[in-house]
């Protein structure tokens, strides 16, 4: 925990198997004072989530809460699975409003509804909207569009998509005592001190660009007029076993995603979850529109960790030299795949940068970070929110 005269942030975690004791343990550790303004919960989808929330609520006495299920939780001690992490923000220097909106088939409206909470905040000099959503429910950029249309460019958006330990079936969003699916939950946060955001991916372009000449949603059928899988094989030095074995292919494609030129910012990364050897197509996790210009990207443990450092530095740089109270991280599950056992190193490096302040977050199915421009939904990135 770190605190100053009017704001504090603390993190608790538990790896207890039963929802009740786990919620109690994590919440107790996080609630270091009695004026908590917001609780943020990242937890395994395997818990009985209603019980978990009830246990946390009993500890906090009804503090506003948002949260979601994950593909692994992060806290200062390192990454974890099948546990729960509770972050508490408190003190008179914060003001918070939480909301939830149904997202399925109406992501843009949901983004706009959640964003409306910002207008109801007790005024503070700095503001941000924290969003947690269901990445399996459609094009998440729509949430960003909806929220941005209400708020304009002055309020940064940050957050991530809930996970389910890579089962890719159902994710959960939490609001107050409610367990939701296909929802967008948001916390409008006002603070007397800056809220800094950093986002980096750590992938490099290889070779010349390709044009997406045929795609259907998340499936890329053709690149440069050729079957996408063949174009991918030709451009990259794909090992022989990955050319006809699906698992070997996915292990390879994990470190060779697609980067799209969207506007003029950093590339938007699209993770390739698999190859269809019959249709000769690439199966991505988020939409790759026809007509987009794409690069094949490469990365390794070093470049991923360099991005970790850079994202933290960007976030800390944006709080104008103030000491951070804590770092919230939204880390793409695919980056965990690249680092493998080295993932503990990443959390250590984030902790180093945090200068002793607590770190909390989760492994996501997509990340949200919008500080400039209108593009704000990302894949395979690390998003860091530094709270001062």
């Amino acid at each position: 925990m770190a605190r100053n005269f009017n704001r504090w942030l603390a993190v608790g975690r538990s790896s207890a198997c039963e929802a009740g004791p786990a919620g109690t343990e994590a919440a107790r550790a996080a609630l270091v004072a009695d004026d908590a303004r917001l609780l943020i919960v990242f937890c395994s989808h395997r818990y009985d989530l209603s019980t978990l929330l009830a246990a946390i609520d009993a500890e906090s006495g009804g503090a506003p809460l948002i949260g979601c299920s994950t593909a692994g939780e992060i806290a200062t001690g390192g990454p974890g699975d099948a546990g729960v992490v509770v972050v508490a923000l408190g003190g008179p220097g914060f003001s918070v409003r939480t909301t939830a909106a149904a997202g399925v088939g109406r992501l843009r409206e949901a983004g706009a509804e959640v964003a409306a909470a910002v207008a109801e905040l007790e005024p503070r000099e700095h503001q941000a909207l924290l969003l947690l959503s269901d990445g399996l429910s459609g094009d998440q950029q729509e949430i960003v569009r909806g929220a941005h249309a209400v708020l304009g460019g002055g309020v940064p958006l940050v957050g991530g998509c809930a996970g389910d330990d890579l089962e890719m079936r159902r994710t959960f969003q939490l609001h107050g005592g409610q367990v939701l699916e296909g929802a967008v939950v948001g916390a409008a946060i006002g603070s007397d001190a800056p809220l800094g955001i950093g986002v980096r991916h750590g992938w490099r372009r290889t070779g010349e660009p390709l044009l997406v000449t045929r795609s259907q949603g998340t499936e890329v059928l053709e690149l440069d007029g050729r079957p996408a899988l063949d174009a991918y094989f030709d451009r990259l030095d794909v090992p022989a076993e990955a050319r006809d074995d699906a698992d070997a292919f996915t292990r390879y494609s994990l470190t060779h995603p697609i980067g799209m030129a969207r506007g003029r910012g950093e590339h938007q990364i699209r993770f390739i979850g698999g190859g269809d050897f019959e249709r000769r197509s690439l199966q991505c996790i988020a939409e790759v529109p026809e007509g987009a210009t794409a690069w094949l990207m490469e990365g390794d443990a070093d470049s991923v960790l360099d991005a970790t450092d850079a994202a933290c530095a960007d976030a800390l740089g944006a709080i104008d030299g103030a000491d951070p109270l804590g770092l919230l991280v939204f880390d793409c599950i695919a980056r965990r795949g690249v680092l493998g056992d080295g993932i503990a190193t990443e959390v250590d490096r984030i902790s180093d940068q945090a200068q002793g302040a607590p770190v909390a977050g989760f492994y996501t199915y997509g990340e949200i970070a919008r500080t400039r421009g209108v593009n704000g939904f990302h894949n395979q990135t690390l998003v860091v929110l530094a709270v001062a």
Binding site: R145, H148, A149, V150, L151, G152, G153, G154, V155, E208, P209, L211, T213, S215, Q216, G217, D224, G225, A261, R262, G263, R264, G265, P289, E290, G291, A292, T293, R372, G373, V374, N375
Partner: protein
């Protein structure tokens, strides 16, 4: 980022698709500002009209600074800071603007992109909701997609110019069009020598006076000028891209040392050459050339001299070839030669001899007299690039094995396969008289009723030895050898006979017959149809003649005249595989069409959403607006039928609804449902 081959054309195509997909003016404006801001990575996007921001993004919804947006100079954006702005006219004083960090100045390419977006938006806003204009928008979308494709295909400048000329002519349905640089003809399409009746400027990145002249005999109005202007903006981007990337493309496809084609380009040219073989009736030859003694030169004189030697040898190789042939450096001291349209191995051997002679002449480098030699392997054929490359490589090793300075010709079972093809051709010629052809019928089903309303006749060939030959194997052969005319006549006759039989029991039953390009080109066709109808008693309105877009486009005037004649008899004309050809929608309107069959690749994605579904919807709506019937092809899932029904498509065909079956099987099917073909 802007270094991408088609960044701006792709952005514009996405912008156009988003804006023209909007249902009303406010939605189109909002979608325009969002897409523009995304494309430019801008903090602000807005449309300002009469001092008021009629759409904007980047400000809180309830605090849009209308006056600041309408002013000029840097824009102060709350929470972001000062932003530099870029604006482009939309219409009657309205402007489309984007603003972003002044540290990222706007490029010239971006300026033209925003200008093009402004034009496209103005066109879309003006034409929104009006039927004729929707068709215009779709035609524009189609032309723009085509211009984009020519850039994507890494076409050269010439091809891009040709695509622009053709696009312009087809867009406004003119007899011809020309692209002129500084008054000189750079590319022409159709009757481009006719007087120019409409002329718009192209923005050339190098500042040359550049325009599109539409030629013809009829006058054009302001709306056509607008359409053409929007097209010209897009074409300007394609042109800039083509220029910027001509260099990059050259680098990607050529060996940097010798300037010869590299393996990628060689392979591509080989495949194209093979594709042309059926038309030319000739063969392709591949020569693998390996320099003998190169390693020794490199070892003795060093790599620099070795490189010079390769450059000299490459020059000699190129000098002895015809323009249409290709010399390539495949790597190290290995070269290859592609000879297009050779008659037989003898022609290739002749070239191989000249290659050997040229490469063994001494080379003067740095005062040294260096002599090397070569071994050449030759393979010829009409199909399979991989086989040819492998065979030539194999032959090269044979040549080397026989001693240096030799060539070897790969002798495959080439003769056997050529003979096999000849005999199949001869068999096909006799197939009609021997009664080896038969028809299968694939049911066409009413989407709403679920009842069979007719069937498409599909020809099959039962070869006495080979069994049933797939249509894919003998139809191209029949087209090439001319047998298709006779086969087509038989199919027409037989389908009418069977159709008449069904018609006696189910009076509204309609039978579909495919017409080939060759049939359509024959004046005889109309008499054949008359004869078939008269002999069988099939009512003309129950005969559906199906043609593909490609067939129609071969000779537009002749095709239109012939179809008019056929239509006068009451027969129905249907466009098969609609959407797969690249013909302009306006062009198709010249033909007397009753129905279109929506190609399976569009139907395929119908229930899955996305661009293809949007296109399918556009095609069906377009057809409906012209009073045409639509048939969805290749239906495989019940969800697709539901989508077709929802879109108002009347008929469907596909494996889900019935595979092609023999006539009596279809009869049984019809009998099983006595209320059929109502």
């Amino acid at each position: 980022v802007a270094s991408s081959a088609s960044w701006s054309t792709a952005q514009l195509a996405e912008f156009l698709a988003a804006v023209s997909g909007s249902l009303d003016v406010p939605a189109a404006r909002q979608s325009a500002v969002e897409r523009a801001a995304e494309a430019f990575g801008a903090d602000v996007g807005a449309i300002v009209d009469g001092g008021f921001a009629v759409a904007s993004i980047g400000f809180p919804r309830d605090a849009v600074p209308h006056a600041e947006l309408a002013a000029s100079g840097d824009l102060d954006v709350p929470g972001v800071g000062a932003c530099a702005r870029l604006a482009a006219p939309v219409d009657d004083g309205a402007v489309l603007l984007v603003a972003r960090d002044p540290d990222e100045p706007f490029t010239r390419e971006e300026e033209s992109l925003l200008r093009a977006m402004g034009r496209v938006l103005s066109l879309s806003l003006r034409t929104l909701g009006v039927l004729a204009d929707r068709r215009e928008r779709e035609a524009l979308l189609e032309r723009l997609t085509e211009a984009q494709r020519s850039v994507v295909d890494r076409s050269g400048l010439d091809e891009t110019l040709a695509a622009i000329a053709r696009g312009a002519a087809e867009l406004v349905g003119a007899e011809g069009a020309a692209v002129r640089f500084g008054g000189r003809l750079a590319a022409g399409h159709g009757a481009h020598h006719l007087p120019a009746v409409l002329s718009v400027a192209l923005h050339d990145p190098e500042g040359i006076d550049c325009r599109i002249d539409v030629a013809g005999s009829r006058p054009y109005g302001e709306s056509e000028r607008d359409v053409l202007r929007a097209f010209a903006e897009h074409a300007s981007l394609a042109l800039a891209n083509a220029r910027n990337h001509a260099d990059a493309v050259h680098r990607a496809l050529h060996d940097p040392l010798t300037g010869l084609a590299n393996r990628v380009l060689f392979r591509e040219r080989l495949e194209h050459a093979l594709e042309r073989c059926p038309r030319s009736g000739k063969e392709v030859a591949v020569l693998f050339v390996d320099v003998d003694g190169f390693k020794a030169v490199n070892d003795r004189h060093g790599h620099a001299l070795g490189d010079e030697l390769l450059v000299e040898l490459a020059g000699r190789l190129r000098a002895l070839l015809r323009v249409e042939d290709t010399a390539a450096r495949l790597g190290g001291d290995e070269f290859a030669v592609l000879l297009e349209e050779v008659d037989d191995g003898a022609g290739a051997i002749h070239v191989a001899e000249r290659v050997l002679e040229a490469l063994q002449r001494p080379v003067q480098i740095d005062g040294h007299d260096v002599t090397v030699g070569a071994s050449v392997g030759i393979a010829t054929g009409r199909r399979f690039a991989d086989d040819l490359l492998r065979n030539a490589d194999f032959a090269m090793y044979q040549a080397k094995a026989g001693g240096r300075g030799r060539y070897a010709l790969f002798e495959p079972e080439m003769h056997a396969s050529a003979l096999g093809r000849l005999s199949l051709e001869a068999d096909l010629r006799r197939a009609v008289e021997r009664g080896e052809l038969f028809l299968h019928y694939q049911p066409v089903v009413g989407v709403k009723t679920g009842l069979v309303s007719g069937a498409e006749a599909l020809v099959r060939w039962r070869h006495p030895q080979r069994g049933v030959v797939p249509p894919g194997d003998f139809i191209p052969l029949a087209e090439e050898s001319g047998t298709i005319a006779e086969i087509g006549r038989w199919v027409l006759q037989e389908a009418c006979r069977q159709g008449a039989e069904w018609q006696r029991r189910w009076p509204e039953f309609r039978v579909g017959v495919n017409l080939s390009g060759r049939q359509l080109a024959e004046p005889q066709l109309v008499a054949d149809i008359d004869a078939a109808l008269a002999a069988t008693g099939l009512r003309p309105e129950c005969l559906v003649l199906e043609l593909t877009e490609t067939v129609l486009m071969r000779d537009v005037d002749e095709a239109a005249a012939r179809l008019q004649e056929i239509r006068r008899r009451g027969c129905e004309i249907s466009i098969d595989d609609f959407g797969t050809g690249y013909s302009s929608l306006q062009y198709l309107l010249r033909f007397p069409i009753d129905s279109v069959k929506v190609a399976r690749e569009f139907v395929d994605g119908l229930d899955l959403g996305g661009d293809r579904a949007t296109l399918a919807r556009a095609i069906i709506e377009f057809a409906a607006s012209l009073g045409l019937n639509t048939v969805g092809e290749g239906v495989e899932r019940p969800e697709q039928v539901a989508c077709l029904a929802a879109l108002g498509c009347e008929y469907a065909q596909g494996f889900l609804l019935g595979r092609p079956v023999a006539a009596d099987e279809l009869t049984a099917l019809l009998e099983a449902a006595p209320a059929q073909a109502a």
